[in-house]
Subunit: 540 residues, 2 copies
């Protein structure tokens, strides 16, 4: 019985282990390849003509790059730009038709410790303070080494984005769980405001982009070094029968920036059976687990996969991230209040960390366990920066009222309670402190005057804190030895550890950009040690 490819069963297509007899020096077997060894590493990719079947410890690379980045979100683009800036040839693949993944539909909010905007506003901040905030929100479960790297890299990452054309609003915002305002936001109020200019910049610099190109599995040599990946080109998500299988080689490393799995119903329910199908998610359809699972299968270390965050600011009245999430983040929570729909009373610090708010909101249920959607509102002054409000009003997922009485009547809230609650809150705002629920009201506004803008709130599956373990060089670690898996990097949501039990808002952008850059920079230090040699002969 031979071991030729055609004898493999159909389901083995996802299994990289059958590559394990690939040997160093046997990768590039034809004469045409030898000239490649002479080419500079920036050379355009070349097709290698080796036999069609996998035999005798030889594989076929249809293309070879210095670095392959899987995923085109914040982490992927940061890694690609950084590697390219060091002169490497870089391929970015994206399984979806459009680039950017969740990053393009996120709010474009980026926590930077020590930004010029903070200095201008007289806000004292430091990486150490950000570290403490994230550790507190993470309930101590954070991986401190990665967290340390993350908070120390935000300023540089901010400058890096400016260099690549990203534009931010001139003011800094106060997101829940942060002890000071430190959140910058793109002028577009969207992550697309980061993704689009960074991708344009990368393309100009010569980074190769392929969409509809799905990562399938890793190609490893005999020493388990990752030397490439198997992909499907012309893949049409989610049709697993679509696409043409190809092998890409990576001279210095593969960087996995394939994101989280909030939209992978099967895998998220294995981790938390409560996250059932009728719980909506803010994530795009492609947010699935295959990238993480492929890494686990070659020995990566799983970290805290069941720590899954529900976004505590979304609306049950619209699908996905929607327009309400941004309204609440920018206006409703910092500049307004949220009340129990039965009592008209506030029940949580609207600026607590996400987990605290998520838990408080999910506890709002009637005796049968059915959700009682809380009402969040602010007034015209509070909503002035909420760019998504017109759309939310248009789609009737937000409502405008001239008076509190009208607001109360619309939602069948007890008006007297509500008025009393607003009065009490306004008193704390006027004093600049002393809020009953511990909210920092030093930058809040009085809600005495309308008109008011109100939304209903219910959490959605938003972010998977867990993923694979990396070291501070963004190298993926082997679960048995704790040592790096040679040739394999990861950054962004596909990794686990920095956020612990609960990620703070605007720290995903920070995570992706900072660790993505580190991955791209570290892989560029490996040029003296290619993972395979193009000059070895087949019989070496």
């Amino acid at each position: 019985m031979s071991n030729s490819k055609k004898t493999l069963p159909p389901d083995s297509i996802n299994n990289p282990t059958r590559r394990s007899f690939l040997t160093k020096g046997a990768l590039l077997a034809t004469g045409g390849v030898m000239s490649l060894a002479m080419a500079p590493t920036q050379a355009a990719p070349v097709t290698i003509n080796v036999p069609e079947t996998v035999t005798g410890g030889r594989t076929r690379f249809h293309q070879i790059y210095d670095v392959i980045v899987v995923g085109s979100g914040f982490a992927g683009l940061a890694a690609a730009l950084e590697a390219k800036s060091h002169g490497l040839s870089v391929l970015v693949i994206e399984k979806m038709a459009v680039f950017g993944g969740n990053s393009t539909i996120n709010g474009g909010a980026f926590a930077v410790a020590g930004s010029p905007q903070q200095k201008e506003a007289g806000i004292q901040d430091s990486p150490e303070l950000m570290y403490q905030d994230m550790l507190k929100a993470g309930r101590g479960l954070n991986h401190r080494d990665i967290l340390h790297v993350l908070v120390n890299g935000t300023q540089e990452a901010y400058e890096f984005t400016l260099k690549h054309g990203v534009r931010y609003k001139p003011f800094v915002q106060h997101f829940g769980g942060h002890s000071v305002p430190r959140t910058l936001q793109t002028v577009e109020s969207s992550g697309a405001g980061i993704i689009m200019p960074m991708r344009q910049s990368a393309q100009k610099l010569g980074v190769i982009f392929k969409s509809r190109c799905k990562f399938e599995s890793f190609i490893q040599d005999n020493q388990q070094t990752v030397v490439g990946i198997e992909v499907k080109e012309n893949y049409y998500f989610p049709d697993e029968n679509s696409g043409l299988q190809k092998n890409y080689g990576a001279r210095y490393g593969v960087i996995m920036c394939s994101g989280g799995f909030s939209n992978d119903l099967r895998f998220r329910m294995i981790q938390d059976p409560q996250l059932v199908s009728d719980l909506d998610t803010t994530n795009h359809q492609g947010a699935t687990a295959e990238g993480i699972l492929a890494m686990l299968k070659i020995g990566a270390t799983p970290v805290q996969l069941d720590l899954i965050q529900l976004g505590p600011w979304s609306s049950p009245d619209e699908k996905g991230f929607g327009n309400v999430s941004q309204f609440n983040t920018i206006a409703g929570y910092p500049m307004g209040i949220m009340v129990d729909a039965r009592t008209g009373k506030r029940f949580t610090n609207e600026l607590a960390d996400r987990k605290a708010r998520e838990d408080a909101i999910l506890a709002q249920r009637d005796e049968q366990g059915k959700p009682v959607y809380p009402i969040c509102f602010t007034n015209k002054e509070g909503a002035k920066n909420a760019q998504s409000l017109p759309a939310a009003l248009k789609y009737q997922v937000a409502w405008q009222f001239d008076t509190l009485k009208q607001l109360a009547d619309h939602f069948a809230l007890p008006y007297e309670n509500l008025q009393k609650e607003v009065d009490e809150y306004n008193t704390a705002v006027a004093n600049g402190s002393g809020d009953r629920l511990g909210k920092d009201v030093s930058r809040a506004i009085s809600l005495a005057e309308g008109p008011y803008f109100a939304v209903r709130v219910w959490p959605k599956v938003h972010y998977t804190m867990g993923g694979v373990q990396i070291n501070p060089n963004a190298q993926v670690l082997n679960s048995l030895t704790g040592n790096p898996i040679q040739g394999l990097y990861a950054a962004g949501e596909v990794t686990g550890g920095p956020h612990g039990a609960s990620r703070l808002g605007s720290c995903a952008v920070a995570d992706g950009l900072v660790l993505g850059r580190i991955a791209g920079a570290h892989v560029a230090t490996q040029t003296a040690n290619p993972l395979f040699s193009t000059s070895d002969s087949d019989n070496a």
Copy 2:
């Protein structure tokens, strides 16, 4: 370049993927093997003489069994006995010098829903009630399919243990988080009271046992079916350089019963960085993660690995499980009270589930964050069933006092507070209900009279709720497909899911015995489909 074994780097010894070219039909290549195909499956294992090196898709099995069980605790012995009772040849391997793992040092407490002892005591119970209790303690994170199987199997598993010689105390106990008393306990007050008779019974029936035999990795065929394991015989824990490598074949399946990882400092800190080295564990030294990790590496699904339980009844004054844990479980908590060492006031329901108690105790810290060990005590009447008390007194990890005043003085507790607390508690006990902290005092006793027995309390790392995912047949599931990995079973603490966020006391024995039996029974249904055929020729 050949793929012969000697070219593999040293670190690949833990890597099963290099076996991936092993093909069905190529396992047993010599003429001497053919006679094995004729032998009944109960035949004693035979050494197969095939070439020393792994070449051309051939491996060497030094021994072949119908079933190989990895681990000799509750799950392992239950699986072995069940498989043996169906006529299969069974090997049980244990890496430590002694058999039984953690199971021998646990308290021998077994939750059975519907035991004769319950009926005798007039206690109404059902699998459904146990299911609800475990789901509540598990905070809804439980895998319902496995939980269902678990609670429905306790009665039969109880009878199974009786058949194999286990003896229980004639009364039923009330452990924390269970809504009724349903915990049986061996007369020895130890899991050794289950392990020893079951192992003797298994040996009599012909199960082969090998200690100092460490599981190293799986051997898979081309279709990723698990057909055997690589072990180290004569292994001296924890010396990884000791032992002689051997390959064992398993005709119908390998059952992983290798336990949890509470004593694997590196891996447990990856999952929960707060579980640092100076936090003690109740577990034996061999409770490490390599079994789980090896399964993940062949595609098993990780479940909730960061859900790690601290035992809320152990003592900071002794190492390991110790004598105090049993005292608190049997006497201190159900028959006594636990107080804050600064105030003399109770601070938690002593019969709450483990997580609730663990969290409450761990919150007992001074302003610098240092532990303030709570004091738990009962009186002579309450301690009458606590067999470990004499040892605890002898080793001065428990103390005896004639009066409450003496007890208070010894621990520098405010006596008046303490007396008031005891009086209040006694009132609730006299009423049979109405405890301030919600404790079920219907079976509690008055603490009006001494002498008193007291201990100090601090949690220790006790149980890893997470592990690999199995289906209700105890088959290990592939993370990508959700389908069983052919030839691979798992049961007991190495699996994840049934307990969710917090395992209830005495449910580990239930889990191990019930799911172990299911694994052993299911593998016995596979005799028509051996994982490899001994009659295939090398060139088929």
